[in-house]
Amino acid sequence: MANKTIMLGNEAIARGAYEAGVKLSSAYPGTPSTEISEYLAKYDEVYTEWAPNEKVACEVAIGASYSGVRSLACMKHVGLNVASDPLYTFSYTGVNGGSVIVVADDPGLASSQNEQDTRMVARSAHVPVIEPSDSQEAKDFMKIAYEISEKYDTPVIFRTTTKLAHSQSIVELYDRMEVSDKEYSRNTAKYVMMPGSAIGRHLVVEDREKRLAKDAASLSINKIEMGDTKIGFITSGIAYQYVKEACPEASVLKLGLVNPLSKELIADFCSRVETVYIFEELEPVIEEQVRAWGFDVKGKELFTRQGEYSANLLKRVIYGNDDCVFDKKDAPARPPILCPGCPHRSVYSVLNKLKIHASGDIGCYTLGAVPPLAVVDTCVCMGASISALHGMEKGKGKDYIKNWVAVIGDSTFLHTGINSLVNMVYNKSTATVMILDNRTTGMTGHQDHAATGKTLKGEETYAIDLSELCRAIGVKNVIEVNAFDVKELERIVKESCASDELTVIITKAPCVLLKGQKFPNVCRANPEACKKCGMCLKIGCPAITKNADGTIKIDETMCNGCGLCKNYCKFGAIETVVR
C-alpha cells in the first residue's frame, strides 16, 4: 500500500534499504551520511550498528553479503578512503547477497576536510555507481541498486551529495520486500583472493563492467527527456534538479547509473542535440569519458570543479542572466564555534595559556584552530593528530615537540587514532597525547561508540575503558583529569610535555549537548567589579560579550554555567549562581 510523506534524502535511503529487504547495515558517522543509520535503526527487521571505522563497516557488510543476505555500509566520501582497501577487492570477489555502499560526497565542504569525488574511486575500483536526484529516487534507486548488485555479482556504490542527503522532498512508501536468504557454498576461486584466484576474478570484473555498460542503455534509471534540440544536458544527481529549474525546455540525458556509462545512450543523445553540456558537480568524470569517445561537448571550461552548483549558475553561464535585484551587503563572518560550556574550550584555554601547539584531528575540537583559542595547528584526517606528532618528533628530535601535544576525540581515537598510538609505543615516542573524552561522537550529532556503553539500537553494551586500553598497548603514563579542572590540567600538561616519557592525558567531561544533563548553574558578571581586562574574552565563549562601556556581560540563556570564565577573572567579577 502506497502512502506519501516528506522525507530527508538520508531517511529515504534508509527506507529504500528497508523496503529492499536489507538485513544488515554497518557504518561510522560522517556528515552528510550519518542520519541513514539512525533512521534505519528504527526498523526492527534490520540489524544496524556503528562500527569503529568505515573499513570495519565495509568488511562487516562484505561478510553479511557472503553469508547470503542483503547488506549495507554507509559513510562519507573520506570514509571511503578508509574503506577502500576492502572495497577494491570486494569488487573482485563480488557478492552473494546484494551489497550496497552508500557514500556521501560533500561539494562545498559543508562539514569536511576536502572535496574529493567518489566516482573517481569507483571507476578505479570498477564498482557501479548509482546516483539519485531527490528523496523519491533515493528510496527507489536503492532497490535497483540491490537488483544490479545481485544480477551483476558486484558491490554497488550509492552516491549522494550534501544537498540530496540533507534536503526533504515527497516520497511514496511501500512495504518491505521479502527477500529470501541465499545459500552459502564454499567457493575459493571467488571468495579467497590469492594471486591465482584474483587473476581469474580480474577478468570477471572487466567482463561484468562491459556487460553492465551495454545493458545501461535500457536501464530505467537512465533516461532521455527530449525537449529543445538546440540545447541539451548530460547530468545526474542533484545537478539534474538545477537543470530542470534553470532550463526546463532543454533536452536532458539524466543518468541514474553514472558508472559505467552507456556509450550508446550518450551517442544517441549527442546525435539529436546541437549543443551538449555536461553538468556535473566536482570532477569532470562523465565529461572526460564522453570527450574520449570523440563527442563534442562543453563542460568544465564553463562550470567549476569547486563547490555546489545551482540553477543560478546555469542561468548565468547559459543565458547571461542574473536574478539578483539587491546588492550583497558586507556582514562580519559568523564561523561555527565551540558551544558555551564545551569541555574542549577548557582544555584549549590551558594549552593557549601554556603556548602549546596542538596536532589536531577531525571533530568539533578542530574549531580550536580559530581565534581567540588558536591552539590547533594541523588537521588532516581521522587519527592523524597522533601519527603526525610522532613524525614531528622523529623528524626533528624530541626537544622539538616539548611544546606540542596531539588532541583527538574519544570516537576519533577509536576510529583510527589507536593505530597511531600503537606506533608511538612501538617506536619509543616521548610525546603527549590528549584524548578529549566527551563520551560521544559530537560533530556528527551525538552518536554512540565503543566506549559509551550503548549500541546504535540503544541497547546496553560493554564500554571500552580508554585508560585501560592505552595501558594495555603499553603506555605507562595514562592520566585521567576532569576537563574543567584547569589548575590540575595545567600542571599535568606542563609535566608531561617536559618529560621524556610517552603520556596519554584523558580529559573527561561530557559534551554539553548530550541529552539528559541538567545545568543548574549560570555565570553572572558584575560590571562594577569588571576591570575591562578582556581575559575572560580570550576563552572565546559565545555567551560572553561586552557592554557599551567595555565591561563584560554574560547571556544567561546561552550560558551553561561551566564556570571556565570565572577561572580567568582575577577581579572576582564573575560568579557562579544557581539559575
Binding site: S111, H166, E245, A311, D323, P335
Partner: protein, 190 residues
C-alpha cells in the same frame, strides 16, 4: 508558481524545526515541497540557512539570490547577510535580536549599527522581539514559534492549518506553549 521561503539564523536557534513546520504546512495544503537543511559543523553557532520551496512542481531544493518571497531572520546580522536573496516585492521578517559573532567579540570586526533601519530603506521589513515575548510566555525556547507565527501571514495558509502542524511537530510536552507562542506572534501582526 513556486514560493520560496528562506530561514536564516545562528546555529542552535531552531531554524531547522521552523523550516520543517513550514514544509509540512505546505505539504498538507497539497503542494509539492522541498526543504533544504544544514547539519554538521555549520550548526555549531555558525550562520545557518534553510529553505522551504513549494508549488506545483519543485526541482531545486534551495532558492537563489533574488528569489525569496519571505525571509525569516532569527538575528539582525543574519538578516543583513542574506537580504539580497529577497525578491523585489519580498518580505523580510526579523527577530530583533543581536548575537555577536566571534569575529566581533574578539574585536576583529564591528557589529554593524542600525541594521534594521538600513534594511527598511530597501525592503519591506517587519520585526518582533521574539525572545522577550517567549520569556514572558514562560519558556525562552518557544522563540521560534513566536517568530514563525509573526511571519505566517506573509507566507499564507490559515491559522488553523499552521496550528495543527505545530501540534504535530513540536515535542509533546511543549505543544500548548508552542501553540500559544505561535498565536501570540500571529496576532501581534495586526
Amino acid at each position: 508558481m513556486t514560493k520560496n521561503i528562506m530561514i536564516v539564523g545562528v546555529g542552535g536557534q531552531g531554524t531547522l524545526l521552523t523550516s520543517r513546520i513550514i514544509g509540512k504546512t505546505a505539504l498538507e495544503a497539497g503542494y509539492d515541497v522541498k526543504i533544504s537543511e544544514v547539519h554538521g559543523m555549520a550548526q555549531r553557532g555558525g550562520s545557518v540557512v534553510t529553505f522551504v520551496r513549494y508549488g506545483e512542481r519543485v526541482c531545486e531544493p534551495v532558492c537563489e539570490e533574488g528569489q525569496a518571497d519571505v525571509i525569516i531572520a532569527f538575528e539582525r546580522l543574519e538578516a543583513q547577510r542574506y537580504a539580497h536573496f529577497l525578491k523585489k516585492d519580498g518580505v523580510l521578517v526579523v527577530n530583533d535580536c543581536k548575537i555577536e559573532p566571534m569575529t566581533v567579540v574578539i574585536g576583529a570586526k564591528e557589529y554593524p549599527k542600525g541594521i534594521l533601519e538600513d534594511l527598511k530603506k530597501e525592503h519591506t521589513l517587519y520585526s518582533i522581539d521574539g525572545q522577550k515575548i517567549a520569556i514572558e510566555l514562560g519558556n525562552s525556547k518557544v522563540l521560534n514559534s513566536v517568530v514563525l507565527g509573526f511571519a505566517a501571514p506573509y507566507i499564507g495558509f490559515d491559522k488553523a492549518a499552521w496550528l495543527s502542524v505545530v501540534e504535530k511537530t513540536v515535542p509533546q510536552k511543549t505543544i500548548e506553549i508552542n501553540k500559544k507562542a505561535f498565536e501570540y506572534g500571529y496576532d501581534a501582526q495586526k
